[in-house]
């Protein structure tokens, strides 16, 4: 029993970190641009599909790991410039829902409606108790962890990252100080989109991919954003990992659907009782 629990805990950790990547993107986009991006799951899906194509035709996973997020970040720039500039929350929901339909249909008509699988770049395993655990999954967790660390370093130790935090705090003041807010919005959306795509690439070898996987992962990412506190990035990352763990371990005892129901109810309670998130201390 203990071995199975460790296995589920490991799986939960991997998924939690992947979800964290998506949730962080969702959160920075919401925090800066006031956009609830319903299409964020589909950016994850596009990243996964691009990775599948690159591995299929170029046969290089590491190339996909770099190229797919870059391509989706570019797509993010185009989308932000074209349709998401200065839009209110209600309309952003409709526009991004429209984008979600477009992305899904575009992928369905090219990639096809059948789910596909992809082999991990290497098939080594390491022994965990009596099991052989896939080494790739551990690497996936490491990549996600590195990307999260990279995002925080970027936000706190680069000029642009500082600008991003400044715009989030006070948009008008930031503009008055000469920060190019338009560029900051663009880069924010690109970074968010790129993170989702990176999550997609990393997740491809451990899951089946099809045009609807974005719809499945989006609620989980939303849960992390809300439970962690809208705009509270460390809280969001922590919530994603915690929820991944909780769902992973719960799935040792219940069906994944039941585990999902519990986490959704938990999230409703957090929204109602602590709308600013579990980890956000309210001052004033």
């Amino acid at each position: 029993m203990a071995e199975i629990l460790v296995l589920h805990a490991l799986n939960g950790l991997v998924w939690g970190l992947i979800t964290a990547l998506i949730a962080l993107g969702l959160s920075i986009i919401f925090g800066l641009l006031d956009i609830v991006n319903v299409a964020h799951g589909d950016l994850f899906m596009v990243g996964a599909v691009l990775a599948w194509y690159l591995v299929r035709y170029v046969d290089n996973f590491w190339l996909a790991l770099v190229l797919a997020p870059l391509a989706v970040a570019l797509l993010g720039i185009v989308l932000e410039r074209l349709v998401l500039r200065s839009i209110d929350v209600a309309r952003s929901l409709v526009v991004t829902f429209g984008l979600s339909l477009i992305l899904q249909d575009a992928v369905r008509s090219t990639f096809g409606p059948t789910p596909q699988r992809m082999l991990p770049p290497f098939e080594h395993t390491i022994p965990v108790f009596d099991f052989n655990y896939s080494l790739y999954r551990l690497l996936a967790a490491l990549i996600a962890l590195a990307a999260i660390a990279g995002l925080f370093l970027y936000l706190h130790h680069t000029k642009f990252g500082t600008w991003m935090r400044a715009v989030r705090q006070d948009r008008d003041m930031a503009t008055a100080m000469g920060i190019p807010t338009d560029q900051v919005f663009m880069v924010t959306f690109a970074v968010g989109a790129g993170l989702a795509a990176l999550a997609g690439v990393v997740a491809t070898p451990i899951t089946t991919i099809e045009f609807r996987i974005g719809l499945v992962i989006l609620p989980a990412a939303f849960i992390a954003v809300v439970v962690g506190g809208l705009g509270n990035l460390p809280g969001t990352a922590a919530a994603a990992v915690l929820l991944g763990e909780a769902e992973g371990i719960a799935s040792a005892f219940f069906s994944p659907t039941t585990a999902r129901i519990f986490s959704l109810i938990f999230m409703s309670a957090v929204l109602l009782l602590r709308p600013h998130g579990l980890f956000t201390r309210r001052t004033g």
Partner: protein
């Protein structure tokens, strides 16, 4: 009197056209029209909530699904007749909205939108895990009992004309009821909440209660719509509860013009007709739905009806 006539005349013309439709249109087109009418009830309910009360719900699929399962289970499990089962569906949706609304109306804007999505997801997953009762993703078919079976008169939805006129009558009644609500004192309070919640609250209105009332009414119309679709399809499935159904309703309402009540009907009719027309040519009609939604929201924030009104008043 003249103003009244101007207001009633378009309504009379549209109802007359809709009444004559089955004699002009093919059987297939009539069936599509019935489907449009059914979905527009969902969109009109959402419009009361979003367009008139300013609460953007992304979770109307919940009440739609409860309505669909309400009538399906009423007929199959309880063995009830048609009308009692329909009533059960609407009441069940109202109760569901009453419970969900008790919590949801305390939140505003994106928090409200998010919690409505979550509630609908909870029920969606519950429906998936109780496949014995709901049929899960595959759904369940059922035999629809006659609408009326009294004194030798039997009206059944298996008769296409009966089905169409039944749907038309229910839609017209729904429209009139909602029109009545939006024009009433209650509707005025709803609009006051939409425009300035703080001021309404300072004037002494119990804002939470009014938001809740709007939420429950919208939920009941969502349930009615879901029940009718289950009848039309002779089928209900967990996919009726998925949040993309809610998303469709939002798109139809916004594209048609929120806060007009006519807009949701126009939006639903436009997008479903287009989807049907396009799907005979392309497989990926969703792409066009998405494109149209984006273009309309960006170019005509008040939707098709808002745009039409602006054009006619300017000239």
């Amino acid at each position: 009197m003249k103003r009244r006539a101007r207001r009633v005349l378009p309504f009379a013309v549209v109802v007359a056209l809709a009444t004559a439709a089955p004699f002009v249109l093919s059987e297939f087109a009539t069936s599509l029209l019935a489907e449009i009418l059914i979905w527009s009830i969902l969109a009109m309910g959402l419009d009361l909530l979003f367009g008139y009360t300013g609460m953007l719900s992304f979770g109307q699929a919940l009440y739609f699904g409860v309505g669909a399962y309400g009538i399906t289970l009423g007929v199959t499990r309880l063995g009830w007749a048609f009308l009692p089962s329909l009533l059960l569906a609407v009441i069940a949706a109202g109760v569901a909205a009453g419970i969900a609304g008790f919590f949801a109306v305390r939140l505003t804007w994106h928090y409200f939108a998010i919690i409505t999505i979550i509630f609908s997801l909870v029920l969606y997953f519950v429906a998936l895990s109780r496949a014995d009762l709901t049929g899960g993703e595959d759904g369940m078919s059922f035999e629809v009992p006659p609408i009326v079976d009294f004194g030798g008169v039997e009206l059944s939805v298996y008769e296409p004309l009966v089905e169409y006129y039944f749907v038309l009558i229910v839609t017209v009644i729904s429209f009139l009821l909602l029109r009545l609500i939006t024009r009433s004192q209650l509707g005025l309070v709803f609009r006051a909440l939409r425009d300035n919640t703080n001021r309404a609250s300072l004037l002494g209105y119990d804002t939470l209660r009014y938001r809740w009332v709007s939420f429950v009414i919208a939920g009941m119309f969502g349930g009615l719509s879901g029940a009718l679709l289950a009848v039309k399809m002779r089928y209900a499935s967990a996919s009726y509860l998925f949040w993309t159904v809610s998303g469709d309703a939002v798109i139809w309402t916004v594209v048609g013009g929120a806060g007009t009540l006519v807009g949701p009907i126009v939006g639903t009719a436009t997008l479903i007709t287009l989807r049907d027309y396009l799907s005979t040519w392309f497989e990926n009609h969703q792409l066009f739905t998405g494109l149209i939604a984006i273009v309309v929201v960006l170019t005509a924030p008040q939707g098709i009806v808002g745009l039409a009104r602006r054009l006619t008043t300017r000239s």
